[in-house]
């Protein structure tokens, strides 16, 4: 009997996942987005073994400076003679990891606070939500700029700044989702059998609030990549000579006249990556909640 119940539970879980997956892969945009993300992830993981960071990515070759795209340098070279294509490939590591870790930070803090605010309500909820309002009142990018200035400009601090600045969105989405779930009967049942409250929140309520959170994660990775490259562009993100796409773009600004390709390619790379995450986010939203599809 127990085995039967377990089997049916497993079947149900698979079927829910399979259902969403089936709807997702019917969406051409989402499939294209997934493909691009998979390729980028592959590049980000393997580039370390293909290129030598010290000699091929950050080393200066002044004799080869400012060469236009050619067979030797697919995307040309920058003002220090570094190959832009190699730097772009390596840059995928930074941009993807900044985006993913930043959203990981926002997700961890935001969903925890949002779940507590939604579940407990009352004074706890009020305090969390008012603090969130204060945090959200400052524009996202300004908040990230102030935080990264305080912590100092490096990759880890950039992740923290972008992540912390995105916390309010996760708090609000999670709280809203928890509010709709917390009065459901299975939550009552869990309480009735004496499960402790944190277990109820994290094992019964949050798993049932995942749809809006998953969509939020995908879309926020896109915004985090843009925010991180924006900070590097402003000179307060990842410091040179790290091949971060935003700082590469910023370095190319001085050479717009005649050497516009230096800014063109990093910008394209950011746009394609962000586009991929946006397409997957849109596809996931439609797949998780077909009612939303318009």
């Amino acid at each position: 009997m127990k085995q039967k119940i377990l089997a049916s539970r497993r079947y149900r879980k698979r079927s829910r996942f399979a259902e969403v997956w089936h709807r997702l892969i019917k969406n051409k945009g989402a499939v294209a987005g997934l493909f691009i993300i998979a390729m980028l992830a592959l590049v980000a993981i393997s580039v370390k073994y293909i290129l030598d960071y010290d000699t091929q990515v950050i080393a200066q070759h002044i004799s080869e400076r400012l060469q236009k795209p050619s067979i030797h340098h697919l995307m040309g070279t920058d003002n220090f003679g570094r190959d832009i294509f190699f730097r772009l490939l390596y840059g995928a590591r930074f941009s993807l990891s900044v985006g993913i870790v930043a959203v990981g930070i926002a997700l961890t803090i935001g969903t925890t606070l949002g779940a507590l605010a939604g579940y407990y309500g009352g004074a706890t909820g009020e305090i969390i939500m008012r603090a969130t309002d204060i945090f959200a009142a400052v524009p996202n990018l300004l908040m990230a700029i102030v935080i990264v200035t305080a912590l100092g400009a490096n990759t880890i601090n950039l992740m923290i700044a972008v992540g912390v600045a995105s916390v309010p969105q996760f708090v609000r989405v999670t709280r809203a989702a928890v509010l709709t779930v917390r009065t459901q009967e299975y939550v009552e049942a869990a309480r009735a059998i004496g499960r402790n409250e944190l277990a109820i929140i994290f094992f019964h309520i949050l798993p049932n609030c995942l749809s809006p959170i998953i969509v939020m994660v995908t879309l926020r990775i896109a915004s985090a990549i843009i925010a991180a490259s924006s900070l590097s562009f402003l000179g307060i993100g990842v410091p040179p000579p790290t091949p971060e796409w935003g700082s590469m773009l910023s370095e190319g600004r001085r050479f717009l006249r005649g050497y516009s390709y230096i800014t063109m390619f990093p910008g394209l790379a950011i746009m394609i990556t962000v586009l991929a995450f946006n397409m997957v986010g849109d596809g996931l939203r439609d797949a998780l909640d077909p009612k939303l599809k318009k």
């Binding site: 009142a137 102030v146 200035t149 773009l249």
Partner: protein, 312 residues
Amino acid sequence: MYRYVIKRLLMLIPIIIGVSFLIYFIMDLAPGDIISQMAAEATEDQIQALRHQYGYDRSVFYRYALYMKNLARGDLGTSFLTNKPVWDMYRERLPATLKLALGAMIVSILISIPLGILSAVRSGTIWDNIGMVFALLGLSMPNFWLGLLLIILFSLKLGWLPSGGDTGFLSIILPAITIGTGHTAIMTRTTRSSMIDVIHQDYLRTARAKGVPEKYVIRKHAFKNALIPIITIIGTQLSVSLGGAVLTETVFAWPGVGRLIIDSVNQRDVPTVTGGIIMTTILISIMLLIVDLLYAYVDPRIKAQYLRKEKG
């Protein structure tokens, strides 16, 4: 209605206190204070004198309390760098930011509303797909990059428009398009989905059934009822450009508030950063309040709700 407005304005007070606290303390954590920037070659006595003058010989709590005491009297403090009142500096920069925000809004409304309506009315056709691809591209394009592309094309290659500074009408076009493109993307999607919601309502079928021409059905019956989400998104996007045009202002050397804040952050000018962000927060909150009040004018049902609450 007045009570609602006053209540919303009063709610700003804790937000201002919270924001000032947050920014003041985070900025205090930043390595290298203003004294180290100003007194690179000063003697120890001069450094001590400067520390005393700017309150750096006391705790951050003391400095914050002093700042808040002045803020309560409407004084945003004096810039460490220029010695000018922060309010005067903010006031000097605000017109440029407002002009740019308005320009961006006009660009995005002119493009996104017709495009959104077209996508909704021709839902599922090639027009819809073109509109949505355009919106997705606009949403994914970093605006500092778009700004640089526009400079390359219209300033450097064609020589039609200036590449930076606030030098008249022509100089606003490129930065307005840069900010407007991001807004256009979001507004097109909202207009489309809001119109699609309305387009299938019974009262539109009735309007068509009684022979109202299609363009009137769309313009008068559908669009008016789809306006609430569109106004919300216009207001939100306007508030975004009031507070977050830092990048575009940097790319186009536009003398706006965003540029003032980022320059002050780099120089550790705490009063200017805190004052600038407080004023930006107030401006955004007022903008969002205006949006809420606009609902009442667009939708009589919402106005009735406000009035009922007031009576109750």
